[in-house]
Protein backbone atom coordinates (compact mmCIF):
# COMPACT_ATOMS: atom_id res chain seq x y z
CA UNK A 1 0.00 0.00 0.00
CA UNK A 2 1.43 3.36 -1.05
CA UNK A 3 0.74 5.31 2.15
CA UNK A 4 1.70 2.80 4.84
CA UNK A 5 4.31 5.32 6.00
CA UNK A 6 1.80 8.08 6.68
CA UNK A 7 2.95 9.59 10.00
CA UNK A 8 0.40 12.34 10.19
CA UNK A 9 -3.04 12.95 8.71
CA UNK A 10 -4.24 16.57 8.74
CA UNK A 11 -7.91 17.39 8.33
CA UNK A 12 -7.79 20.81 6.64
CA UNK A 13 -11.33 20.63 5.25
CA UNK A 14 -12.97 24.04 5.50
CA UNK A 15 -9.64 25.72 6.13
CA UNK A 16 -9.49 29.16 4.52
CA UNK A 17 -6.61 30.21 6.68
CA UNK A 18 -3.89 29.07 6.83
CA UNK A 19 -5.14 26.65 4.17
CA UNK A 20 -4.47 23.04 3.21
CA UNK A 21 -1.09 23.56 1.52
CA UNK A 22 0.19 25.54 4.49
CA UNK A 23 -1.03 22.77 6.79
CA UNK A 24 0.76 20.22 4.61
CA UNK A 25 4.01 22.22 4.70
CA UNK A 26 3.71 22.43 8.49
CA UNK A 27 3.32 18.65 8.67
CA UNK A 28 6.18 18.03 6.24
CA UNK A 29 8.52 20.30 8.20
CA UNK A 30 7.84 18.29 11.34
CA UNK A 31 8.44 14.97 9.52
CA UNK A 32 11.57 12.97 8.86
CA UNK A 33 12.97 12.04 5.45
CA UNK A 34 10.99 9.10 4.09
CA UNK A 35 7.84 9.89 6.08
CA UNK A 36 4.56 10.67 4.37
CA UNK A 37 1.96 13.23 5.40
CA UNK A 38 -1.69 13.08 4.37
CA UNK A 39 -3.88 16.16 4.12
CA UNK A 40 -7.64 16.32 3.52
CA UNK A 41 -8.78 19.34 1.54
CA UNK A 42 -12.17 20.58 0.38
CA UNK A 43 -10.53 23.52 -1.41
CA UNK A 44 -10.63 23.00 -5.22
CA UNK A 45 -7.43 25.06 -5.49
CA UNK A 46 -5.50 22.32 -3.69
CA UNK A 47 -5.69 20.17 -6.84
CA UNK A 48 -3.19 22.59 -8.39
CA UNK A 49 -1.43 24.11 -5.36
CA UNK A 50 -0.33 20.87 -3.73
CA UNK A 51 1.00 19.02 -6.84
CA UNK A 52 2.74 22.25 -7.98
CA UNK A 53 4.54 22.66 -4.64
CA UNK A 54 5.47 18.99 -4.46
CA UNK A 55 6.99 19.22 -7.95
CA UNK A 56 8.80 22.48 -7.15
CA UNK A 57 10.42 21.10 -4.00
CA UNK A 58 11.10 17.65 -5.46
CA UNK A 59 9.10 15.51 -3.01
CA UNK A 60 6.77 12.65 -4.01
CA UNK A 61 2.99 12.92 -4.45
CA UNK A 62 2.06 9.40 -3.38
CA UNK A 63 -1.70 9.78 -3.77
CA UNK A 64 -4.43 12.22 -4.78
CA UNK A 65 -7.71 10.52 -3.87
CA UNK A 66 -11.05 12.02 -4.90
CA UNK A 67 -13.60 11.47 -2.09
CA UNK A 68 -16.33 13.56 -3.68
CA UNK A 69 -16.53 16.63 -1.49
CA UNK A 70 -12.85 16.51 -0.58
CA UNK A 71 -9.49 15.21 -1.78
CA UNK A 72 -6.92 13.29 0.24
CA UNK A 73 -3.33 14.04 -0.75
CA UNK A 74 -0.41 11.95 0.47
CA UNK A 75 3.05 13.47 0.13
CA UNK A 76 6.33 11.77 0.98
CA UNK A 77 9.33 13.79 2.12
CA UNK A 78 11.69 11.93 -0.13
CA UNK A 79 14.92 13.85 0.48
Amino acid sequence: MADTNVKQEIDARGSACPGPLMELIRGIKASGVGDAVAVLSSDPGSNKDIPDWVEKIGYELVANEDHGDYHRFVVRKSK
Binding site: C17, R26, K29, A30, D52, W53, K56, I57
Partner: protein
Protein backbone atom coordinates in the same frame (compact mmCIF):
# COMPACT_ATOMS: atom_id res chain seq x y z
CA UNK B 1 -16.73 22.02 44.73
CA UNK B 2 -16.26 22.00 40.97
CA UNK B 3 -12.84 23.51 40.18
CA UNK B 4 -12.17 25.13 36.80
CA UNK B 5 -8.58 26.05 36.03
CA UNK B 6 -7.73 28.31 33.08
CA UNK B 7 -4.10 28.46 31.95
CA UNK B 8 -3.23 31.70 30.16
CA UNK B 9 -3.72 35.41 30.77
CA UNK B 10 -4.14 36.42 27.13
CA UNK B 11 -7.43 37.19 25.34
CA UNK B 12 -8.59 33.54 25.31
CA UNK B 13 -8.01 33.16 29.05
CA UNK B 14 -9.54 36.41 30.26
CA UNK B 15 -12.57 36.39 27.95
CA UNK B 16 -13.32 32.76 28.81
CA UNK B 17 -12.99 33.56 32.53
CA UNK B 18 -15.45 36.42 32.22
CA UNK B 19 -17.97 34.39 30.20
CA UNK B 20 -17.77 31.63 32.80
CA UNK B 21 -18.26 34.11 35.63
CA UNK B 22 -21.44 35.19 33.86
CA UNK B 23 -22.74 31.67 33.10
CA UNK B 24 -21.90 30.34 36.57
CA UNK B 25 -22.62 33.41 38.69
CA UNK B 26 -24.93 31.61 41.13
CA UNK B 27 -22.57 28.67 41.57
CA UNK B 28 -19.59 30.98 42.10
CA UNK B 29 -21.44 33.01 44.73
CA UNK B 30 -22.57 29.88 46.57
CA UNK B 31 -19.10 28.33 46.48
CA UNK B 32 -20.18 25.32 44.40
CA UNK B 33 -17.76 26.38 41.62
CA UNK B 34 -14.32 28.02 41.77
CA UNK B 35 -12.40 29.49 38.82
CA UNK B 36 -8.63 29.96 38.92
CA UNK B 37 -6.72 31.68 36.12
CA UNK B 38 -3.00 30.88 36.07
CA UNK B 39 -0.66 33.15 34.16
CA UNK B 40 3.09 33.58 34.28
CA UNK B 41 2.82 37.28 33.45
CA UNK B 42 0.90 39.78 35.60
CA UNK B 43 0.03 41.89 32.54
CA UNK B 44 -1.82 41.11 29.32
CA UNK B 45 -0.29 42.60 26.20
CA UNK B 46 -2.34 43.61 23.16
CA UNK B 47 -0.05 41.90 20.66
CA UNK B 48 -1.28 43.66 17.49
CA UNK B 49 0.29 46.76 19.05
CA UNK B 50 3.78 45.37 18.43
CA UNK B 51 3.37 46.04 14.71
CA UNK B 52 2.93 49.74 15.45
CA UNK B 53 5.74 49.65 18.02
CA UNK B 54 8.15 48.55 15.26
CA UNK B 55 7.42 51.80 13.42
CA UNK B 56 7.53 54.03 16.51
CA UNK B 57 3.76 54.54 16.29
CA UNK B 58 2.87 53.01 19.64
CA UNK B 59 4.26 52.93 23.17
CA UNK B 60 4.74 49.75 25.25
CA UNK B 61 2.85 51.16 28.24
CA UNK B 62 -0.20 51.80 26.10
CA UNK B 63 -0.63 48.18 25.00
CA UNK B 64 -0.67 46.33 28.32
CA UNK B 65 -3.00 46.05 31.31
CA UNK B 66 -2.86 44.09 34.59
CA UNK B 67 -4.68 40.76 34.14
CA UNK B 68 -6.41 41.23 37.50
CA UNK B 69 -8.05 44.40 36.15
CA UNK B 70 -9.51 42.51 33.19
CA UNK B 71 -11.38 39.66 34.87
CA UNK B 72 -14.40 39.28 37.12
CA UNK B 73 -13.71 39.51 40.87
CA UNK B 74 -15.08 35.95 41.10
CA UNK B 75 -11.99 34.70 39.22
CA UNK B 76 -8.91 33.95 41.31
CA UNK B 77 -5.92 35.18 39.27
CA UNK B 78 -2.63 33.54 40.24
CA UNK B 79 0.70 34.66 38.84
CA UNK B 80 2.32 31.25 38.48
CA UNK B 81 4.27 29.48 35.78
CA UNK B 82 2.80 26.11 34.86
CA UNK B 83 5.35 23.33 34.47
CA UNK B 84 3.13 20.33 33.72
CA UNK B 85 -0.43 19.05 33.56
CA UNK B 86 -1.01 15.71 35.26
CA UNK B 87 -4.02 14.44 33.33
CA UNK B 88 -4.26 11.26 35.45
CA UNK B 89 -4.36 13.01 38.83
CA UNK B 90 -6.17 15.98 37.26
CA UNK B 91 -3.90 18.67 38.58
CA UNK B 92 -1.71 21.42 37.19
CA UNK B 93 1.84 21.55 38.53
CA UNK B 94 3.35 25.01 38.98
CA UNK B 95 6.87 26.31 39.42
CA UNK B 96 8.03 26.09 43.03
CA UNK B 97 6.35 22.74 43.64
CA UNK B 98 2.68 23.63 44.09
CA UNK B 99 -0.27 22.02 42.35
CA UNK B 100 -3.75 23.16 41.36
CA UNK B 101 -6.40 20.42 41.18
CA UNK B 102 -9.10 20.73 38.54
CA UNK B 103 -12.35 19.17 37.43
CA UNK B 104 -12.16 21.06 34.14
CA UNK B 105 -9.13 22.63 32.52
CA UNK B 106 -9.02 25.33 29.84
CA UNK B 107 -5.76 25.62 27.90
CA UNK B 108 -5.39 29.17 26.61
CA UNK B 109 -1.64 29.61 26.82
CA UNK B 110 -1.10 30.81 23.26
CA UNK B 111 2.03 30.20 21.29
CA UNK B 112 5.73 30.98 21.57
CA UNK B 113 8.33 31.78 18.98
CA UNK B 114 11.00 29.24 18.15
CA UNK B 115 13.59 31.07 16.01
CA UNK B 116 16.14 28.39 16.90
CA UNK B 117 14.23 26.02 14.57
CA UNK B 118 15.75 27.93 11.63
CA UNK B 119 19.57 27.85 11.77
CA UNK B 120 21.06 31.35 11.81
CA UNK B 121 17.74 33.14 12.34
CA UNK B 122 18.24 34.00 16.03
CA UNK B 123 21.61 35.61 15.16
CA UNK B 124 20.63 37.57 12.06
CA UNK B 125 16.84 37.92 12.01
CA UNK B 126 14.35 40.39 13.44
CA UNK B 127 10.66 40.13 14.18
CA UNK B 128 7.89 42.11 15.83
CA UNK B 129 6.14 39.56 18.03
CA UNK B 130 7.37 40.83 21.38
CA UNK B 131 8.18 44.20 22.85
CA UNK B 132 11.96 43.86 22.92
CA UNK B 133 12.15 42.53 19.35
CA UNK B 134 9.77 45.19 18.00
CA UNK B 135 11.81 47.96 19.58
CA UNK B 136 15.07 46.46 18.30
CA UNK B 137 13.55 46.31 14.81
CA UNK B 138 12.45 49.92 15.11
CA UNK B 139 16.01 50.98 15.98
CA UNK B 140 17.34 49.12 12.93
CA UNK B 141 14.73 50.60 10.61
CA UNK B 142 15.53 54.11 11.81
CA UNK B 143 19.24 53.50 11.14
CA UNK B 144 18.88 51.96 7.66
CA UNK B 145 19.56 54.64 5.04
CA UNK B 146 19.83 52.23 2.13
CA UNK B 147 19.90 48.49 1.42
CA UNK B 148 17.56 45.51 1.35
CA UNK B 149 14.74 44.55 3.69
CA UNK B 150 13.31 41.04 3.34
CA UNK B 151 9.97 40.16 4.94
CA UNK B 152 9.86 36.37 5.14
CA UNK B 153 7.10 34.10 6.38
CA UNK B 154 9.04 31.15 7.79
CA UNK B 155 6.84 29.65 10.50
CA UNK B 156 3.57 28.08 9.46
CA UNK B 157 1.17 28.61 11.13
CA UNK B 158 1.96 31.88 12.89
CA UNK B 159 0.28 34.60 14.92
CA UNK B 160 -1.80 37.10 12.95
CA UNK B 161 -1.74 35.69 9.40
CA UNK B 162 -2.09 39.11 7.77
CA UNK B 163 0.75 40.78 9.71
CA UNK B 164 3.48 40.00 7.11
CA UNK B 165 1.49 41.85 4.45
CA UNK B 166 0.70 44.69 6.83
CA UNK B 167 4.34 45.21 7.81
CA UNK B 168 5.34 45.28 4.14
CA UNK B 169 2.70 47.86 3.18
CA UNK B 170 3.54 49.96 6.24
CA UNK B 171 7.28 49.75 5.48
CA UNK B 172 6.73 51.07 1.98
CA UNK B 173 4.87 54.15 3.17
CA UNK B 174 7.10 54.68 6.23
CA UNK B 175 10.22 54.67 4.03
CA UNK B 176 8.57 57.02 1.53
CA UNK B 177 7.76 59.46 4.33
CA UNK B 178 11.46 59.50 5.21
CA UNK B 179 12.60 59.92 1.60
CA UNK B 180 14.41 56.57 1.63
CA UNK B 181 12.12 54.31 -0.37
CA UNK B 182 14.16 54.67 -3.57
CA UNK B 183 17.30 53.58 -1.68
CA UNK B 184 15.76 50.57 0.07
CA UNK B 185 14.68 47.44 -1.82
CA UNK B 186 11.79 45.48 -0.35
CA UNK B 187 11.20 41.75 -0.82
CA UNK B 188 8.35 39.58 0.47
CA UNK B 189 8.51 35.79 0.63
CA UNK B 190 5.71 33.31 1.18
CA UNK B 191 5.75 29.50 1.46
CA UNK B 192 3.10 28.70 -1.16
CA UNK B 193 2.56 29.74 -4.77
CA UNK B 194 0.77 33.01 -4.01
CA UNK B 195 1.25 35.92 -1.63
CA UNK B 196 -1.18 34.65 0.99
CA UNK B 197 -2.82 31.36 1.88
CA UNK B 198 -6.27 32.97 1.51
CA UNK B 199 -6.78 33.07 -2.26
CA UNK B 200 -9.01 36.17 -2.27
CA UNK B 201 -6.54 38.03 -0.06
CA UNK B 202 -3.64 37.04 -2.32
CA UNK B 203 -5.58 38.29 -5.36
CA UNK B 204 -5.88 41.66 -3.69
CA UNK B 205 -2.39 41.78 -2.14
CA UNK B 206 -0.30 40.75 -5.15
CA UNK B 207 -1.03 43.82 -7.33
CA UNK B 208 -0.76 46.00 -4.20
CA UNK B 209 2.76 44.64 -3.59
CA UNK B 210 3.67 45.03 -7.28
CA UNK B 211 2.36 48.60 -7.29
CA UNK B 212 4.73 49.34 -4.42
CA UNK B 213 7.69 47.75 -6.26
CA UNK B 214 8.06 44.93 -3.73
CA UNK B 215 9.94 41.88 -5.03
CA UNK B 216 7.72 38.82 -4.54
CA UNK B 217 9.18 35.35 -3.92
CA UNK B 218 6.56 32.60 -3.63
CA UNK B 219 7.17 28.89 -3.04
CA UNK B 220 9.84 30.16 -0.65
CA UNK B 221 10.14 28.03 2.50
CA UNK B 222 13.07 29.49 4.40
CA UNK B 223 15.41 26.77 5.60
CA UNK B 224 18.41 28.63 7.04
CA UNK B 225 20.06 32.01 7.39
CA UNK B 226 23.73 32.66 6.67
CA UNK B 227 24.18 35.12 9.53
CA UNK B 228 27.66 36.17 8.48
CA UNK B 229 26.88 36.88 4.82
CA UNK B 230 23.29 37.95 5.63
CA UNK B 231 21.64 35.65 3.11
CA UNK B 232 18.30 33.85 3.55
CA UNK B 233 18.14 30.38 1.94
CA UNK B 234 14.98 28.44 1.01
CA UNK B 235 14.15 24.71 0.89
CA UNK B 236 13.43 25.29 -2.81
CA UNK B 237 16.96 26.57 -3.49
CA UNK B 238 16.46 30.37 -3.69
CA UNK B 239 18.82 32.76 -1.89
CA UNK B 240 17.97 36.31 -0.82
CA UNK B 241 20.58 38.76 0.55
CA UNK B 242 19.35 41.26 3.16
CA UNK B 243 20.36 44.08 5.47
CA UNK B 244 17.29 43.62 7.65
CA UNK B 245 15.42 40.31 7.72
CA UNK B 246 11.92 40.73 9.18
CA UNK B 247 11.07 37.11 9.83
CA UNK B 248 7.96 35.32 10.95
CA UNK B 249 9.75 32.61 12.96
CA UNK B 250 8.49 29.10 13.65
CA UNK B 251 5.85 28.99 16.38
CA UNK B 252 5.03 26.27 18.92
CA UNK B 253 2.65 25.82 21.83
CA UNK B 254 3.93 26.31 25.39
CA UNK B 255 6.68 24.06 26.77
CA UNK B 256 4.56 22.63 29.59
CA UNK B 257 2.15 21.15 27.02
CA UNK B 258 4.96 19.19 25.41
CA UNK B 259 6.13 18.02 28.87
CA UNK B 260 2.55 16.87 29.60
CA UNK B 261 2.03 14.97 26.35
CA UNK B 262 -0.78 17.34 25.43
CA UNK B 263 0.72 18.65 22.20
CA UNK B 264 1.37 16.84 18.94
CA UNK B 265 3.77 18.28 16.37
CA UNK B 266 3.77 21.55 18.31
CA UNK B 267 0.03 22.04 18.88
CA UNK B 268 -2.84 20.77 21.03
CA UNK B 269 -5.16 18.39 19.11
CA UNK B 270 -8.58 20.00 19.49
CA UNK B 271 -12.07 19.21 18.24
CA UNK B 272 -12.88 21.90 15.68
CA UNK B 273 -16.53 22.19 16.77
CA UNK B 274 -16.66 21.71 20.56
CA UNK B 275 -13.05 22.80 21.34
CA UNK B 276 -12.54 19.73 23.54
CA UNK B 277 -8.96 18.43 23.62
CA UNK B 278 -9.01 15.13 21.76
CA UNK B 279 -8.63 12.06 23.92
CA UNK B 280 -9.31 13.95 27.18
CA UNK B 281 -12.35 14.44 29.40
CA UNK B 282 -13.15 17.93 30.64
CA UNK B 283 -10.05 19.49 29.09
CA UNK B 284 -10.54 22.23 26.50
CA UNK B 285 -8.32 24.42 24.34
CA UNK B 286 -8.71 27.62 22.38
CA UNK B 287 -6.77 30.32 20.63
CA UNK B 288 -3.27 30.06 19.23
CA UNK B 289 -2.37 26.85 21.05
CA UNK B 290 -4.73 24.54 19.13
CA UNK B 291 -3.97 22.56 15.99
CA UNK B 292 -7.15 23.85 14.32
CA UNK B 293 -6.99 25.01 10.69
CA UNK B 294 -8.03 28.53 11.67
CA UNK B 295 -6.12 31.80 12.00
CA UNK B 296 -3.98 32.31 15.06
CA UNK B 297 -5.66 35.63 15.76
CA UNK B 298 -7.19 37.36 18.73
CA UNK B 299 -10.63 37.39 17.12
CA UNK B 300 -10.56 33.58 16.90
CA UNK B 301 -9.81 33.29 20.64
CA UNK B 302 -12.55 35.85 21.25
CA UNK B 303 -15.24 33.92 19.34
CA UNK B 304 -14.02 30.52 20.54
CA UNK B 305 -14.24 31.64 24.16
CA UNK B 306 -18.03 32.11 23.83
CA UNK B 307 -18.41 28.51 22.58
CA UNK B 308 -15.97 27.06 25.06
CA UNK B 309 -17.46 28.79 28.11
CA UNK B 310 -20.93 27.45 27.24
CA UNK B 311 -19.55 23.91 26.96
CA UNK B 312 -17.60 24.18 30.24
CA UNK B 313 -20.70 25.52 32.01
CA UNK B 314 -22.82 22.74 30.50
CA UNK B 315 -20.44 20.15 31.92
CA UNK B 316 -20.74 21.76 35.35
CA UNK B 317 -24.50 21.24 34.99
CA UNK B 318 -24.01 17.63 33.97
CA UNK B 319 -24.59 17.80 30.23
CA UNK B 320 -22.47 17.39 27.12
CA UNK B 321 -21.27 20.16 24.78
CA UNK B 322 -24.07 22.55 23.82
CA UNK B 323 -22.23 25.01 21.56
CA UNK B 324 -20.15 24.68 18.42
CA UNK B 325 -17.50 27.02 17.03
CA UNK B 326 -18.17 27.81 13.35
CA UNK B 327 -14.68 29.05 12.47
CA UNK B 328 -15.59 32.74 12.73
CA UNK B 329 -12.62 35.06 12.24
CA UNK B 330 -12.27 38.79 11.67
CA UNK B 331 -8.96 40.46 10.78
CA UNK B 332 -8.22 44.10 10.13
CA UNK B 333 -5.50 44.61 7.50
CA UNK B 334 -3.41 47.79 7.47
CA UNK B 335 -2.71 48.68 3.82
CA UNK B 336 -0.15 51.32 4.76
CA UNK B 337 -0.03 54.01 7.42
CA UNK B 338 -3.36 55.64 6.60
CA UNK B 339 -5.69 53.07 5.03
CA UNK B 340 -6.92 49.62 5.97
CA UNK B 341 -9.36 46.89 5.05
CA UNK B 342 -10.75 43.81 6.83
CA UNK B 343 -11.83 40.25 6.19
CA UNK B 344 -14.49 38.20 7.93
CA UNK B 345 -15.00 34.48 7.35
CA UNK B 346 -15.79 31.08 8.88
CA UNK B 347 -15.43 27.36 8.09
CA UNK B 348 -18.16 27.54 5.41
CA UNK B 349 -17.70 31.02 3.96
CA UNK B 350 -14.36 32.20 2.55
CA UNK B 351 -13.30 35.83 3.06
CA UNK B 352 -13.86 38.68 0.62
CA UNK B 353 -11.50 41.65 0.75
CA UNK B 354 -13.08 45.11 0.89
CA UNK B 355 -11.25 48.02 -0.76
CA UNK B 356 -9.00 49.78 1.80
CA UNK B 357 -10.27 53.06 3.20
CA UNK B 358 -9.12 55.67 5.69
CA UNK B 359 -12.27 55.05 7.69
CA UNK B 360 -11.38 51.39 8.27
CA UNK B 361 -7.86 52.45 9.28
CA UNK B 362 -9.33 54.78 11.90
CA UNK B 363 -11.72 52.03 12.99
CA UNK B 364 -8.70 49.77 13.48
CA UNK B 365 -6.91 52.39 15.56
CA UNK B 366 -10.09 52.90 17.58
CA UNK B 367 -10.37 49.16 18.16
CA UNK B 368 -6.75 49.06 19.33
CA UNK B 369 -8.00 51.12 22.27
CA UNK B 370 -11.42 49.51 22.58
CA UNK B 371 -9.82 46.03 22.69
CA UNK B 372 -9.67 46.19 26.49
CA UNK B 373 -13.46 46.06 26.57
CA UNK B 374 -13.25 42.81 24.57
CA UNK B 375 -10.71 41.40 27.05
CA UNK B 376 -13.16 42.17 29.85
CA UNK B 377 -15.93 40.38 27.95
CA UNK B 378 -17.94 43.58 27.42
CA UNK B 379 -17.48 43.95 23.65
Amino acid sequence: MHRIVIIGGGPGGTITANHLAEHLGDELRSGEVAIELLTDKPEQVYKPGFLYLAFGLESPEHIRRPVRDLVSPYVDVRIERVTRVDTEQRQVMVEGGGSRPFDQLVIASGTRLDPSATPGLAEAGDWFYDEEAAQRLHDKLEALEQGRIVVSVIGVPHMCPVAPLEVTFMLDQWLKQRGRRDKVELAYTYPINRTHSIASLAEWATPELQKRDVRIETFFNAESVDAEEKVLQSMEGTELPFDILIAIPEHRSAEYLEASGLSEAGWVPTDRDTLAVKGQEGIWALGDTTNLPVSKAGSVAHYQSATLAKNVAARVHGSGPVARYDGKTICFIEAGLDSATFIEFNYARPPQVQPPTKLIHWAKLAYNNAYWLTAKGAL
